[in-house]
């Protein structure tokens, strides 16, 4: 087999997530492609926990449709995840003897394994996850040595008895697998190669910030973005930077604007509720033309909503929040690797064009871990336009220029002193309430977006070169769409356009894509079809032949779900074309 998906489910303390981690890192270390997600019940500790690990010899772009191998420590804990963890029809299920299998799963291939007893025998009841992972690793031919090494490392820091018990449990798992192997087929076929890195989207964003030269981070904790704060809190001080955990999100973006005004690349990270609180400050950064990077990790909304699950419903807020005519840039990322690139682009654009830039990620990217090739994490870094000595003669901070970008002095630069504000102002930055100045300054600020649109027409286009059906999607929806498209193969003439640059949108490219297709389907995870509303406002979507597949979040898109939606639309394309020829 080319790929397999494993799931571990149990109560907090059962070590499901750790088991997933060890498998993931063992596989990544052998050059396998891995995508790992975790999910929890609402209880912070001791509640339900699950880990799903997709392992593949070829690249993967999404979570898989269904799980091939499920380890359940307690069926009671499985209930919470039953909508999320879908078992393949011939899935193999390993569970405790005597723990009643839910009737609807009775038709899967069920094996009773006395996890608890065996772990106890090995010297530690807590080692059952290690036993379980060794068992499945052996059964399905995952990299066993790497897994054992990972266990050794993980428990090496603990007391010796604990480490010993776990290694014993591992070996016991390997041994027990022998007995089962005859009953279980379907092993993973792969060739080991150079190891991949294993990173989450949040880590990739945070590392992207370091790479881009960010040296000041201010933020307020919020799920599912807090890992960015944690990472930078650990690493920024080592490279001469600093972080500030502020009292709230108003202060976070305020401090970022301050740091940036002072000449240092600065960033904050948040999720929907925090981004809502930042609306006013986005306007300040926009009118005072101060670079600012905001990473917003979307979760289920509105309001507090569903903090631990994904949705693509902060889009219109990111694009349009803040009163007044407020130019800003919005960049999407569609996977872990793009979280890195989008963050570096965000800094480059923010700095070069002196605008606030919002990076839109979401929980499914930010908190899942994927394999990444270290060599793909390269990206050119650009800096702010500083005033020349000539510019500093009667320096005008907001001098009108062709592309709207005026050289920006920073405090400590002699002769660069200027007084700025959030009021409308003239070229010197002096408050000015006249229509003429206002009109000209609005022009200047919006002109920057035109240049950005030309310089950064960022989008992905893939699939058929001569599409009949065009899919437009963005962000984390792109992965499942890609997998769905690949299932259709080339004959079906489906192509996908996924803009990374959401504002300014690469409208020209998008319009020609639309014009090439006979029919368009917009796919997104927002109940109110925010992306479709936005697209309509920016490009011309043919009234008759455009359809939308949108739904609420709280459950990941699968390739199968999208394949079905596309299939449903393919006959329409066909009949329409027939009509056109009739």
């Amino acid at each position: 087999m080319n790929e397999l998906t494993f799931a571990f489910v149990g109560a907090g303390g059962d070590g499901s997530v750790a088991a997933g981690d060890i498998i993931a890192s063992a596989c990544a270390s052998q050059g396998l492609h891995v995508m790992k997600t975790e999910a929890y019940g609402p209880q912070i500790r001791g509640g339900e926990a699950s880990a799903v690990v997709r392992v593949s010899a070829t690249p993967v772009f999404a979570q898989s449709d269904s799980v091939d191998v499920l380890v359940v420590f307690h069926w009671a804990d499985f209930a919470r995840f039953q909508n999320e963890i879908v078992l393949a029809e011939n899935a193999i299920v390993l569970c405790e003897p005597g723990d009643a299998v839910p009737p609807e799963l009775m038709n899967r291939r069920i094996f009773e394994i006395a996890f608890n007893d065996i772990a106890k025998e090995c010297g530690s009841p807590a080692s059952k996850n290690v036993f379980a992972l060794a068992l499945v690793a052996t059964l399905f031919h995952l990299p066993l040595d790497a897994a054992r090494a990972a266990v050794a490392r993980r428990f090496g820091r603990k007391k010796a008895v604990v480490a010993e018990a776990n290694l014993k449990a591992f070996d016991r798992g390997v041994a027990e697998a022998e007995a089962l192997s005859s009953k279980i087929d379907g092993t993973l076929t792969y060739v080991s190669s150079t190891p991949y890195l294993l990173m989450s989207g949040n880590e990739a964003s945070a590392f992207g910030a370091l790479h881009a030269g960010c040296r000041f981070f201010a933020g307020y904790p919020i799920t599912p973005s807090s890992e960015i704060l944690h990472f930078l809190n650990e690493w920024l001080p080592k490279v001469g930077g600093s972080t500030l955990q502020t009292e709230d999100e108003l202060a976070a973006i305020g401090a970022v604007i301050g740091g940036s005004f002072a000449g240092v690349k600065s960033m904050t990270a948040t999720s929907g509720p925090g981004l809502s609180l930042m609306a006013e400050m986005v306007g300040l950064a926009s009118i005072a033309e101060i670079p600012a990077v905001i990473v917003n990790v979307q979760r289920g909304g509105p309001s507090t909503g569903i903090p631990t699950k994904s949705e693509q419903s902060d889009l219109l807020h990111a694009l349009f929040a803040s009163h007044g005519d407020t130019p800003r840039v919005v960049i999407a990322c569609s996977d872990v690797e793009e979280s890195f690139h989008a963050t570096v682009d965000a800094f480059n654009i923010a700095e070069e064009f002196q605008v606030p830039v919002i990076v839109l990620s979401d929980q499914s990217i930010a908190q899942s871990r994927s394999t990444i090739n270290a060599s793909s994490l390269k990206h050119q870094v650009l800096d702010r336009l500083l005033p020349t000595p000539d510019d500093l003669v009667e320096y005008r901070r907001y001098r009108h220029t062709e592309d709207g970008v005026s050289p920006m002095a920073f405090p400590s630069m002699p002769d660069g002193m200027y007084q700025t504000n959030g009021l409308e102002h003239d070229e010197q930055g002096r408050p000015n309430a006249s229509f003429v100045v206002h009109q000209k300054m609005n022009d200047k600020r919006y002109r920057k977006l035109e240049t950005i649109a030309t310089r950064y027409p960022l989008f992905q286009r893939f699939g058929s070169a001569t599409p009949r059906l065009g899919v437009i999607c963005w962000g984390s929806t792109t992965g499942p769409v890609r997998e769905a498209i690949e299932r259709f193969g080339q004959q079906e003439q489906i192509a996908v356009f996924a803009p990374q640059m959401l504002a300014p949108l690469p409208s020209r490219d998008l319009q020609s894509f639309i014009d090439e297709c006979d029919a368009i389907v917009v796919i997104e995870m927002s109940h109110s079809a925010q992306f479709h509303q936005y697209l309509r406002s920016q490009v011309d979507l043919p009234r008759q032949s455009t359809s939308v597949y949108c739904r609420s979040g709280g459950k990941a898109f699968t390739a199968t779900e999208i394949t079905e939606e596309l299939q449903r639309r393919l006959p329409a394309v066909v009949s329409e074309i027939e009509e056109a020829f009739s």
Partner: protein
Amino acid sequence: MTCTPYAPLDYKSDLKPVWCPGCGDFAVLNSVYRALAELQYEPHETVLISGIGCSSRLPGYVDTYGFNSLHGRALPIATGVKMAAPALHVIAVGGDGDGLAIGGNHFIHAARRNVDIAYVMMDNEIYGLTKGQAAPTTPIGDRTKSTTYGNPEESIDPCAFAISLGATWVGRAFSGDVKGTTELLKNAMTHHGFAFLNVISPCVTWRGDDQTKELRAKVRPIPEDHERGNHEAALRFTREDPSIVTVGVLYEHARPSLLDEVEQIRLKALSDAPPPSLEAILQTFSPAV
């Protein structure tokens, strides 16, 4: 290049103040010019940051780096500036409404963090710019545009607030006394940590033309023998008879500033190792680690 020292008016920008004739803030501005000159702060190494209000217009009139930001948000911005560029002189200024109403939370946390800035509040007991509504400093019972039947809320003493929340230097000044205000400003600006100076600065338009005169009559210097290290003693000057306004340094206390802590964190983080390269950081994501 000859080096003439900066005179107060060297700090004056081209912008003409839009304050009402007689507004107390003119005198505050003069004191700021003087304090900057007496300290010989380099204009390009000095940053003034304010919120929104009549008083928050001040940075526009000073030819240093300046930022008249959003209502209530001077302190987080100032904190960001100082953390990003510790060598700068950072001074936050603004009104009583700006700092105690909408900006109250930032005041709490700036004080607690002991961030290395001076914060100057021009206190006129009113919202000036929005034309005369009650501020958190407006005495209980006073009629204003928004308190037709008298202000129902107890007022805040900004100095008591600052002392209670952990500011390490707290003073009170009267804008009409330029010399005294200048001295206190200099003190605040050179203090190590978070210094709060409450400058009583009358709003003649919404608090009456007599404000300045009345206040002048109430002003008393703080007694020579006041123990400024003593919390309780300091607080006593914040619950005064309404006929007295004591000016001077109310409180002073030494503890590590936010930047001291940041420096410590950097040292701890590296623990004598050289700064890691980006590649080294990336390798922490290697599954083999």
